[in-house]
């Protein structure tokens, strides 16, 4: 099986190969490569390998023009998980409160609709999307741009462990490969390749998330962009995508409709009168409690209780003292 040897050679030579190179070192490597012991090493570390020629390899990824030799897998999820309908949620690492909230909600709702949430384990939008999916008890897959055994960034070690409980951490790179800036665009092609659709939550004008979107377009996948404020540089990339014809993401329903997936409507939770009034005001615009007090005419104590009720019902979220309607 030359695919595994190719992946191992890429790790050893520090290169990136999708097909065997015409390099004498490769031929030498291939002659001395002991596949059985390499596989035993993987097994020992609870890692798995799915080569592109194997039947378990996701067909969507196999269809792109430069599929990786295969994927290394970590976690308790089945390899077949990769062939399920997956939606990528990607975006800026230093995202705004708005971005992190949208990413989390999006992850949560896609997961509770039974879809696999795909992202890159990075800080910001990626991490929030994973967390959202985990919040909903769903399945999520993280695609790394470094060796599959690495937790990158290190601050997401715990998150990676939680993902592994029911989902997968995957990479085309063999264990031990260091993260390098040039590997991330290659990682993004895998994210786009595995996904049926890509949702870009927040992106600056030249963002890695836009590379994912480009790959997705090339491969004929649906691209959604979350509209942002035109004055925010964090939304420049997503607004530009919308200009190029991406579908605006305004709720999870947009994604489900585009993919033709039916979802049972969630029963509307019962709300108290004050909470209903506060929610009505929040649906108009996000606001701090004092502003809400003026628009609803509720007392500070009553309003505080009403806002907690909305938070518990998942209908509002708070960040930096500003409440937004959610769901």
């Amino acid at each position: 099986m030359s695919d595994l040897a190719l992946a191992a050679f890429a790790a050893e030579s520090g290169g990136h190969f999708v097909r065997p190179p015409s390099d004498p070192r490769w031929r030498a490597f291939r002659r001395r490569f002991d596949e059985a012991s390499f596989r035993a090493g993987l097994h020992e570390r609870a890692l798995r390998w799915v080569g592109r020629a194997e039947p378990g390899f996701p067909s969507l990824l196999a269809a792109i023009h430069d599929p990786p030799p295969g994927l290394f897998l970590r976690g308790n999820g089945e390899a077949a998980l990769l062939s399920r309908t997956a939606i990528a949620v990607v975006g800026a690492r230093s995202c705004s409160p708005y971005g992190s909230q949208v990413a989390r909600t999006c992850g949560r709702e896609l997961a509770s609709a039974g879809l696999v949430v795909l992202s890159g384990l990075a800080r910001g939008v990626d991490g929030e999307a994973h967390r959202g999916a985990l919040d909903a008890g769903g399945v999520t897959v993280a695609v790394l741009g470094c060796g599959v055994d690495r937790d990158y960034p290190a601050s997401h070690r715990e998150l990676a462990a939680r993902i592994c409980e029911s989902g997968l951490v995957v990479s085309e790179y063999a264990p031990g490969v260091e993260p390098a800036p040039w590997r991330f665009p290659a990682r993004n092609r895998i994210i786009a390749g595995l996904a049926r659709a890509v949702v870009v939550v927040e992106a600056r004008e030249r963002s890695g998330a836009l590379i994912s979107a480009d790959f997705a377009l090339e491969q004929g996948r649906e691209v959604f962009a979350v509209p942002g404020e035109i004055t925010s540089s964090l939304s420049a990339g997503t607004n530009a995508l919308l200009g190029l014809g991406a579908v605006p993401y305004t709720s999870t329903q947009d994604v489900l409709d585009a993919l033709g997936i039916e979802r049972a409507p969630a029963p509307a939770p019962e709300l108290g009168e004050a909470a209903a009034r506060a929610l009505g005001a929040l649906r108009e615009f996000a606001a701090g409690p004092d502003e809400l007090q003026r628009s609803t005419g509720l007392e500070a104590a009553v309003l505080a209780a009403a806002l907690t009720e909305l938070e518990l019902a998942g209908l509002a979220v708070q960040e930096g003292g500003v409440y937004r309607a959610a769901g």
């Binding site: 800080r123 502003e291 104590a301 505080a304 009403a306 960040e319 930096g320 003292g321």
Partner: protein, 488 residues
């Protein structure tokens, strides 16, 4: 010839009886002070000599050696309050004042080179010590006499060493204590000055009613400091016992203004964020009270909490838990009371733009993470109430002026009465269920759960309810630490 008088040394907030003995003997002329006197105390030699000469009394020089012993000799003596007792002992030893009369008096005070007597800190504590030692009168600077009178002892206010000598010789009656003219303390800032900010005002009232620590988080310029300064004004007035407690601390720190020596208003201390650990919790070789102790029974306000040094913040955990600071030194341990309410402010991120709708946060994730790391989980857990104060839009500033401090204070006082009853306010079934649901849905630790329950009790007490209802619990949940401060 030997003469003896009594004074008191400060150890922490306690007075230790010190006997000042002066002995004149023939021999090589000289003046020595023994008994572990520190630098300021050693320098008493020069002040005492000049003072005695300026008072037109006789310096017992000539061919005599003067030895002053401060007993117990093993106790460290600090400061300049020993000047007056040393001078009096020397004068008595040289028969210029009657020894028997001197022994009936305690004394404390610093001498000026012209013989005037200057006030020193800790006179209240020294006077209390004198009363315990069975003395009826204490000689002290005129400025500190009202303070000494608080200890239930007859102070003898003296302005000049010559007055003290004349009094002890019986040439002068005890000068009357000038009772402070009752000038009212400066007015405290009123809550009516705050416009809008209803959420934060409500949190302030809850903090006052339940003695909760309060953290105000938000971008700069949203009135966080203005709000915090108004907390002492809505707290219940100090009781007589608390008044004396606070006055004693401020006396030792030398902070009592002579015109109103009794601290009747709750203290408000706002140390700068560059303050050292010793400045905050107290310290030094002869430990001195820090800001936390000076804020005893009042408010310790820490503006820009995250800018404070980490060790200083961590040192606050003990007083926040026990209400007392214990400082161990080789010579022993000093205990300082420090039952204060902590009010702190912070930005939501290093650049300060979070929570401001008109600005965009430019902080990198790394900077945000290290910013949060500075605030330890353990310290954040000490704040029962956390309120994010977002920047108001301009139109909000024109809100109605709110209620004044006296109205709020009245509500706080009645809520405190309910909370101080031995039987805690019971919790309804609905409230317990709501709390359980919240723990499942919101990031809330075990400690966070206990905090919410505590605040809910205060909400119920303020509402005058018989039990903690679901709506009280729901309101309390609104003041929990927001996610962006507690988790990555």
């Amino acid at each position: 010839m030997l003469a003896r008088t009594i004074t008191h040394a400060l150890v922490g907030l306690d007075a230790r009886r010190v006997e000042v003995e002066a002995h004149l003997q023939g021999g090589v002329p000289g003046f020595a002070i023994v008994g572990l006197a520190d630098r300021a105390c050693q320098e008493a030699k020069e002040r005492v000599k000049s003072g005695i000469i300026s008072a037109e009394l006789v310096w017992p020089g000539g061919r005599r050696r003067i030895t002053v012993n401060l007993a117990p000799a093993a106790l460290k003596k600090e400061g300049s309050g020993f000047d007056l007792p040393i001078a009096l002992a020397v004068l008595a030893a040289s028969h210029q004042i009657p020894i028997a009369k001197l022994e009936e008096h305690a004394s404390v005070g610093e001498l000026a080179l012209d013989g005037r007597i200057r006030p020193v800190g800790g006179v209240l504590v020294a006077a209390e010590g004198a009363r315990r030692a069975g003395l009826d009168r204490i000689l002290c600077a005129a400025e500190t006499a009202p303070e000494a009178a608080l200890a239930g002892i007859d102070p003898v206010p003296v302005r000049h060493l010559a007055d003290a000598v004349a009094y002890l010789r019986g040439e002068l009656d005890r000068p009357s204590v000038v009772v402070p003219n009752g000038r009212p303390p400066p007015p405290q800032p009123d809550l009516a000055d705050v416009r809008g900010q209803e959420r934060a005002r409500r949190a302030l009232e809850l903090a006052a009613a339940g003695a909760h620590n309060l953290l105000l988080a938000g971008p700069p310029g949203t009135g966080k400091t203005m709000l915090a300064r108004r907390l002492p004004g809505i707290l219940p007035p100090l009781t007589d016992e608390e008044t004396l407690e606070v006055t004693r601390i401020h006396s030792v720190a030398g902070l009592l203004p002579p015109e109103h020596p009794l601290v009747t208003l709750r203290p408000f201390r706002s140390p700068h964020h560059s303050a050292s650990t010793a400045a905050i919790v107290g310290g030094g070789s002869g430990p001195r009270p820090g800001e936390a102790t000076l804020a005893h029974r009042g408010v310790l306000f820490m503006d820009e909490l995250v800018e404070f040094m980490r060790p200083a913040l961590e040192a606050l955990r003990q007083p926040l838990e026990d209400g007392v600071i214990s400082i161990a030194r080789a010579e022993g341990r000093a205990l300082f009371p420090a039952r204060f309410q902590l009010v702190a402010t912070m930005n939501l991120c290093p650049c300060g733009a979070r929570g401001d709708p008109a600005a965009e946060c430019s902080c990198s994730p790394q900077r945000l993470a290290s910013f949060r790391d500075k605030l330890s989980r353990a310290l954040l857990d000490r704040f029962d109430l956390v309120v994010a104060v977002p920047r108001a839009r301009a139109s909000e500033l024109a809100g109605e002026p709110g209620e004044g401090s006296p109205v709020v204070q009245a509500r706080v006082v009645s809520a405190r009465l309910r909370l101080d009853q031995p039987a805690p306010i019971p919790r309804s079934q609905d409230a317990s269920e709501l709390l359980d649901r919240a723990v499942e849905r919101l990031p809330l630790s075990g400690r966070g759960r206990a905090r919410v329950a505590r605040v809910a009790r205060t909400v119920a007490a303020l509402a005058g309810a018989d039990a903690v209802a679901a709506e009280h619990m729901a309101e309390a949940l609104a003041y929990r630490a927001p996610r962006e401060l507690s988790s990555p």
